[in-house]
Symmetry: C2
Subunit: 422 residues, 2 copies
């Protein structure tokens, strides 16, 4: 029986998950494929710690994995930019196929890695790098290839989604929800990259590159995190039938792409409405197929390892199989100010004439109010919030009017504005 | 530039959609693939009616398509069992690749068709046959191949889903909702196969065969239609936070498979909750990946044509690409009586002691009630309904107790029982 031998770079969460999957399901897979997939080498930081693999397989010397004769596929599960980038390049140079779950290195050095793959004739599989357990890149690049998919809205960051879900369902405040995510292993000690939209932006780069077959840079993505969202925002949204979700949007607008990551109010009845906790989902809009949604666990040891193994199986069955990707071809990307309804929260002190001041400024800019709610509990002059839902208007108009209201001194802090997804 | 030449059998809704897609997106596709896909022949019933294709391409003689030298791929879009089955066999025999959207012929003659495909070395592509525009078979058989997917619950019939959605959202009764579906082209003049679960059962056969790599027969699927559902069921379910959906279930239970099609109460917060109107969705549960959901249009001209074209593109790019399918290998399939909470509606006449009789019978069988609601409007003795939600119990117990209550003469018609999906 033929065999494919894996050299794993990094035996962390996903690497251990892969070893587990092969231990548990390897026999079944061998039977289905009439082909064996087994780990022969693994690079670790410290080879003295007891491991799941025999010590003869484990090394701290990258060359012992990347350039080993008994390795056919190098599985890069270290994450980060360096040395992941160099190791992938060396592996391709040594004639190995590569499978990786590393969105950061792909988003930043995609063109270089793909060129190396072409030069060596060896593939890079990277289904696991975007939304872990959801076979998303495969769906876009094969099942939907015959359609013109021109719009995507998704929940790409499980940590942010978990934090907002817990604030919504358990009434936690932001800090407590983040602490809970950390306790559950869903957020790093420093959760910044998850909650400020950077992680979602990396995934959005890859998704947009596959969807539109073009190169996208991190600086071309407008980013807004979830840090400013307070329980009152969650409650007010809820009272109007909305739930706040961390969304990412990619759409074609005339000759350019509009790429954005920000929290938004999503109606309960929307298909993204019940996408909670650490789950991810991607809603595509194609000319022929209409709406298609893909939902699942975006991260985690076993879902990600399963996606990695899916790529390996595909390469076993169809050695010439590739996901079409062209990160060298550049295109225009620009932020096209969108129009939508808006949720606005003005932190205020309860003073006579306050609501009139805010409402008048909005009216003067042609922004029409559908709902307004003042929560000014306590004595006159106490801190409170004025929340407003608007009719459809444009982003620049909202920016202008918020800046104007801030200058009048009517608010005690800058207003929060969130788009409403209808 | 190389070309793949299509011979289409049937220029109905999907066939015309395919011609449209190629006209509109053909140039783009040619550019992406460096390969041309074009229609050269089409079989129609009546070649005197004006058509979208030049008359030289259109014929009423199947041999002129199936055995034509200038056809590489035969695209079967006629539907039904015969002559679709014979034409597919002839096409494979003539060395053509086949792409089909015909779930009925695949569900019934899968083993024969696959054997012919193996014998000829030519593939059969059939992504379009299950849930039209959703690249589902591909996802299960490639992206999730490394996982053990052991459970599926989905909404596979768009017509039933549309009917129940309109009853729910517009307050229509069953007959009016069916008429609306017919008006919108979502239901046939005779909607029986859609509303009684047969269409969903055909799709479930194919899905289960791909998920579990085994043969499944139509008689192995327990079927229940949506015909008995009344507005009061929709309203009562709604008042408890549920929406009634037409679901299909496939799961592995010990050494057998349990396969079922029936309506069920789905919580609003469930991911299947917002799947409305003609949309389909499939929720898979894998050991490693956890829950994954695929959602989209399950039927319609362009979504289905897009899936057909997706298969053709895959065969252009990777001629040896196949969806693993083994409809010759049989396995045990048996209905395993499940446990769940139940919704029960007893059509009654308002008489003293009635509620006591029903409640007592339930109690004697150990069925515990969580909610009960009597709507006995009008004079004493008038027709009304008693609706009950139970704690978790088993199907045989419910069947027993309903039969017993019927015998007491307490009800004016057999009770309706629906499972609750929690």
């Amino acid at each position: 029986m033929k065999a494919t031998r894996l050299g794993i770079l990094g035996l962390g969460t996903v690497g251990s998950g892969l070893v587990d999957l092969l231990e548990k399901g390897g026999a079944n897979l061998r039977h289905r494929l009439d082909h064996e997939i087994r780990v022969t080498r693994a690079l670790v930081r410290d080879d003295t710690r007891e491991r799941r693999l025999p010590s003869s397989m484990v090394t701290t010397d990258p060359a012992q994995v990347i350039e080993a004769d008994d390795v056919d596929v190098v599985v890069e599960l270290m994450g980060g930019i360096e040395p992941a980038r160099s190791y992938i390049l060396r592996a391709l140079g040594a004639g190995k196929s590569v499978v990786t779950a590393n969105k950061a290195v792909l988003a930043r050095h995609g063109a270089e890695l793909l060129a190396a793959s072409h030069a060596s004739g060896r593939p890079i599989g990277f289904e696991a790098s975007v939304c872990g357990g959801i076979p998303l890149l495969r769906a876009i690049s094969t099942g939907l290839i015959a359609d013109e998919v021109d719009q995507m809205v998704g929940i790409l960051n499980g940590t942010s989604n978990f934090v907002l879900s817990r604030m919504h369902q358990d009434g936690l405040d932001y800090a407590t929800a983040v602490a809970l995510a950390q306790e559950r292993g869903l957020a790093e000690a420093d959760p910044t990259l998850d909650v400020n939209g950077s992680d979602a932006a990396h995934k959005l780069i890859l998704l947009a590159e596959i969807m539109f077959q073009t190169a996208v840079g991190l600086d071309q993505i407008e980013r807004e995190g979830i840090e400013a969202i307070e329980p009152i925002d969650i409650q007010t949204a809820d009272s109007f039938g909305y739930v706040i979700k961390p969304v990412a949007v990619a759409k074609r607008v005339e000759d350019a792409l509009d790429l954005r990551v920000h929290p938004a109010l999503v109606p309960y009845t929307h298909v993204l409405g019940p996408v909670s906790d650490e789950y991810n989902a991607v809603l595509l809009r194609g000319e022929a197929t209409g709406e298609t949604l893909f939902y699942g666990r975006g991260a985690g040891s076993l879902p990600t390892a399963s996606a990695v193994l899916g790529d390996i199986v595909e390469l076993v069955r169809h050695p010439d199989w590739r996901i079409p990707w062209d990160p060298a071809k550049s295109t225009k990307v620009r932020h096209v100010p969108g129009t939508s309804r808006f949720y606005l929260r003005f932190p205020v002190h309860d003073r006579p004439g306050l609501i009139g001041k805010v409402a008048t400024a909005l009216g003067e800019h042609g922004v029409s109010i559908t709902h307004a709610q003042a929560r000014l509990v306590g004595a006159e002059g106490a801190a409170g919030n004025l929340t407003i839902l608007t009719h459809v208007t444009s982003e620049p108009v909202i920016a202008q009017v918020l800046s104007k209201i801030e200058k009048t001194g009517a608010v005690r802090a800058p207003a929060l504005s969130l788009r409403i997804l209808d």
